[in-house]
């Protein structure tokens, strides 16, 4: 049987670098993500013109800010809805409980991209009325729209954890001791005993947010450009990829499949599009790998 793993010495690996990387694969993938982006930045520094490099940088930073805000909004929304569902169930208000669940299930049945698209149409109207002027406010609004359609994943997890711990004896013991239900749910179950699960889910949501955001920005920039170009959404990786320069760069990949000698020009002449595509795909791979490795390490 092929194993081929580096040899272990006294329980650990002989090479300290291998040792760290082999034990904590999630950290390794996170470092690989940062490292890969760093190498790309250095490469761009030498070969990409300054305006294009600034665009790539600001689009990547905006994308990260939006995705981070999606996490914040998702946590707030999921925490509130999970508490609300639990409260409505425990006080035996079947009508409100079923209605609330019904609305959440309805939200689940709306394809994320359609929901986000309509959300962006609303944002456009708000921007046209000059209600959303500040750049950060625009980023936050975009994140809020995305969060509406991704927070349910976290909501399900929180409810699952609450239900799981409700069956344990310690919950009843705490109730007998006079500890409030709010504290049992939020402090003991969710913060105390579900942190790892929540963190794992948040990494996954971060990846989903990047994917959805890039996709919607690409779609809007390609398909709705006539209406929205005058509004100017903040630049993100998706909208930068939709620009004609970037698309030409991506098309060059296809050209080089039939003209092999052209490959050498891809990484110097077509750097804007290649950099953006690489940032999207590489980030998605690394985030996926990090979350899976984390789940595996924590045996979730």
């Amino acid at each position: 049987m092929r194993t081929g793993k580096p040899e272990k010495k006294n329980g650990g690996y002989a090479n300290p670098v291998i040792s760290v990387l082999s034990i904590q694969k999630d950290t390794m993938w996170f470092l690989l993500w940062i490292g890969g982006i760093g190498i790309l930045w250095l490469w761009d520094l030498f070969f990409l013109n300054v305006p294009a490099r600034h665009q790539v940088q600001s689009s990547f930073i905006n994308t990260l800010i939006i995705s981070a805000l999606v996490i914040v909004f998702s946590v707030c929304a999921a925490w509130s809805t999970a508490n609300a569902v639990h409260y409505l169930r425990s006080v035996r208000m079947p009508f409100f409980f079923h209605t609330f669940n019904f609305i959440l299930n309805l939200l689940r049945s709306i394809p994320q991209i359609i929901g986000i698209l309509f959300g962006y149409v609303v944002l456009t109207l708000l921007m046209q009325q000059e209600t959303l002027n500040q750049a950060f406010l625009q980023l936050a609004a975009m994140a809020a729209v995305l969060a509406i359609f991704v927070f349910l994943e976290l909501h399900d997890l929180l409810l699952e954890r609450i239900e799981h711990f409700q069956k344990q004896d310690f919950c009843n013991a705490m109730r007998v001791c006079g500890i409030s239900e709010f504290r049992i749910i939020n402090r003991e179950i969710l913060i105390g005993n579900s942190r790892i699960h929540i963190f794992y889910k948040l990494i996954a949501i971060f990846g989903t947010a990047i994917f959805l955001q890039c996709s919607i920005d690409f779609i809007i920039s390609v398909g709705l450009s006539l209406q929205l170009s005058s509004v100017n959404f903040p630049l993100t990786l998706g909208s930068l990829l939709a620009k004609i320069d970037s698309k030409q760069d991506i098309l060059a990949i296809g050209y080089s499949l039939t003209n092999w000698d052209y490959i050498r020009y891809l990484f110097t002449r077509h750097l804007q599009g290649i950099s953006v595509a690489f940032l999207i795909v590489y980030s998605l791979i690394c985030i996926h790998k990090t979350s899976n490795a984390y789940a595996r390490r924590r045996q979730l």
Binding site: R2, F102, Q112, G223, Q227, L251, G254, V281, I285, A295
Partner: protein, 375 residues
């Protein structure tokens, strides 16, 4: 239980139907609603029949007149003209778009969307069935490889290079180099496969646009199945269920009852390529049979999530690639040209597909539950 679920789905369809009907009536009534403030000014100027806004002379004349009557708004004249030109062009293109479908009634719009809707459902069903099978097969494959304690190709390469033999003969050196190159090629291939699996569909499509006809239905099915992270996400989910099941206590009982736990892959046997690739996977006499069937049962509700994610992926493909005569491209165009009735019809159609899938998934899960609980 299934009755309640069906009632819930039915109510959801009715409620969304009523909301869409209400929106349709609202749009119909307010088709020529008044705009406010600056937008109204822009609209009024764009509607002037005697100005061709694409003519630089007309624009220049308007600018002079505007500055003459509004000297305090001299700086904003250019931005105003730009907005008017945008609105004027939008109006012209919108009129052209509406001319394409001659029948502007509700029934006419449904008739226009119907063939595209059927085409969308066809692609959706094929990709859903394929991705359901492929995710399970890939997860089973990965689980068996994990049980065989196979290392990654890069680990193997590292190991090979570290333990390189003494090259007493040229043949040994040649074999060593070949083995290393093979591992390197396998690692590179796996890397490229990962890049494709995680890529958003539009990146892959644009990358291949000059080499293949990316507007064909086959290409759309391939994109829907292999990109947008669909396959890799649901392979991982099924794999997670397999790993969780493999840690449970009942497996020890199964092993005591003499069920096989040998994961060595043979050409014919319980764990063979044939049994892994089969649509209905059975592993008689092996503990994996129970791991697999329990994981599959838990995976069934995830099918609803997979369907919603798949629909999102297909919408992204159609919208981003501007594939004409496809439902979602048409939806985007109608949104652009403010044909909101068609947008509502298409959106409701997509909602019905998801609800239909949810009903089927709930029914299959219910049937499996009945079987498991010996009801």
């Amino acid at each position: 239980m299934i009755r309640n679920k069906l009632i819930e789905h039915g109510l959801a369809i009715i409620l969304v139907g009523i909301v869409f009907l209400f929106l349709y009536l609202l749009i119909d009534r307010n088709a020529t609603s008044a705009l406010s403030g600056r937008q109204q000014v822009i609209q009024d100027f764009a509607d002037l029949p005697f100005i061709n806004w694409n003519n630089p002379a007309d624009r220049s004349l308007f600018k002079d007149a505007w500055i003459l009557y509004h000297p305090d708004q001299k700086e904003s004249a250019d931005s105003l003209i730009k907005a008017i030109v945008n609105r004027y062009n939008f109006k012209t293109e919108s009129a052209l778009h509406k001319q394409k479908s001659s029948d502007q009634s509700f029934a006419g719009k449904v008739q226009h969307l119907w063939p595209m809707y059927i085409k969308f459902i066809f692609v959706y069903i094929i990709v859903l069935i394929f991705s359901y099978y492929a995710a399970q097969t890939a997860a089973v494959w990965r689980f068996i490889k994990m049980k065989q304690q196979r290392s990654s190709y890069l680990h193997l390469l590292y190991s090979q290079l570290k333990n390189k033999p003494r090259f007493s003969a040229g043949k040994i050196f040649f074999t060593f180099i070949l083995r290393c190159l093979k591992l390197l090629a396998q690692a590179t291939g796996k890397g490229i496969l990962y890049l494709i699996l995680f890529s958003p569909a539009y990146v892959v499509a644009y990358a291949f646009k000059t080499s293949f006809n990316t507007n064909s239905m086959l290409f759309m099915i391939l994109l829907g199945s292999f990109t947008n992270g669909l396959l890799i996400t649901y392979t991982q989910k099924f794999f997670a269920f397999l790993v969780t099941e493999s840690r449970k206590g009942y497996l020890h009982t199964a092993i005591v009852k003499n069920l096989s736990q040998d994961y060595t892959q043979r050409t014919s046997g319980i764990i063979s390529l044939n049994s892994i690739m089969r649509w209905k996977k059975v592993f008689p006499g092996h503990v994996f049979e129970h791991i697999y069937s329990n994981a599959r049962y838990q995976y069934l509700p995830t099918l609803k999530e997979q369907a919603a994610f798949l629909i999102t992926g297909l919408i992204i493909i159609e919208m981003a690639l501007n594939i004409q005569n496809h439902l979602c491209y048409d939806l985007l165009q109608n949104l652009l040209y403010e044909d909101y009735t068609s947008v509502l019809i298409a959106s409701f159609g997509i909602f019905l597909i998801i609800k239909g899938t949810e009903v089927i998934a709930d029914y299959i899960y219910f049937k499996e539950t009945v079987k498991y609980e010996n009801r």
